[in-house]
Symmetry: C2
Subunit: 233 residues, 2 copies
Amino acid sequence: MRRPAKSPPAGGRPAKPRPSIAARAPAAKPYHHGDLRRVLIDAAMQLVGEGGPEAVSVREAARRAGVSPGAPFRHFPSRDALMNAAAEEAQRRFRAEIEAALADAPPGDPLGRFRCLGIAYLRWAMKNPTHFEIISSRRFFDHDRSAGVSSDNAELIGLTERTLAEAFAAGQLGARDLKQVQIAGRALVYGFARMHIDGHMPRWGVGEAEVERMAADVVDLFIAGIKRRTSQF
Amino acid sequence: MRRPAKSPPAGGRPAKPRPSIAARAPAAKPYHHGDLRRVLIDAAMQLVGEGGPEAVSVREAARRAGVSPGAPFRHFPSRDALMNAAAEEAQRRFRAEIEAALADAPPGDPLGRFRCLGIAYLRWAMKNPTHFEIISSRRFFDHDRSAGVSSDNAELIGLTERTLAEAFAAGQLGARDLKQVQIAGRALVYGFARMHIDGHMPRWGVGEAEVERMAADVVDLFIAGIKRRTSQF
DNA sequence: ACCTGAACACCGTTCAAGT
DNA sequence: ACCTGAACACCGTTCAAGT
């Protein structure tokens, strides 16, 4: 970390026990430390979870893996590359959860499934704020250079696109421009998630206990706004 | 900066000319370098503009001000405090622009003014992405500890609140829960602005040329969604 | 093939000493 | 009262040398 204010002046950590190498090593690769690549990614994810993306340092990840400061560079050409790998992992988990949520959704009601997508998105983002942050904010890695992140992400974009198109085809939408609706919907959930992560909610009078319900309400408000109205009262 | 990849290995900058001290100094304070506090804030704002919030370093700001690395700490207790001062400056400018935009808005149409607020918000955020980022994302400074930022911000929150309440009183709204509408509206513009800043727009098929129009369309879609409907076709 | 450990150029921050 | 300049503990990254 660059700001030592957070950690007390006493820099000396407890003696790092060498990871027991011989014990259960399912992979076939020959190595010294276990699958260091994997261990470094896990350490990075942990650091992200503890202090956000910018709390990730290659040296600290190396320390936690029990290797020297230079060792990670045998597996990742730069800090950004390590970040990228962590982001891919987070994106994979995100996608898995969204798709699982959609599997439970009513099959006959595309707009209802669209709603589920929004709710699942918000739920994951708010439960995993720091992981959400690495996959959202470029700056921590180059989204467009990472094939893994891009493909998982494109998959989710396609999913919402198709769901919305089905809702339109089923005559559930009042709005005409699907692209606008899609971007507005995404802006809404992304903005809500980020407001939560960025600590805006208190100043909008939304307490921690309320936030999940508010998330659902806001999605419902949006859905109501794009729905085709059948009557006026 | 922590990642030297961006700057070539040759670290030596050109000789920093001492700022001409004697020349026009309108302030009354006695000093050595001009109003160093002010100069440091300007340097920080410039750095934010060039490379985003995390490109701000106290040492670089000191360098640009022509002072030694320790000098800034006479004016700011920490990097975060300098960041805070830059954020206050950005927030002030933001508020000024929003209020100016509102002054030009139609006085008799509260919902129209609400729309103007959204448009002005997005316009400023997209024209000043990095400045928008420092005032948005805590992590770079503690929003709730800065009286200046908070008051400017609370002012803007109050403004939208009143505008929305007027729209409701004028019977322009279909939605009932004003708090929900307000938060949804904020999430929408915040999310759109951040999608732009965070580089999401290309993967949603929105090109740089389209983005301003899309911003307006998305706001209009939202407004249409919360508006009271008078007829059904 | 993978890891160590020293090195380099950067940080933020502190503090005695200078003006 | 304000600034300098050296110092300290951190970074990311490189690279010879070890196993």
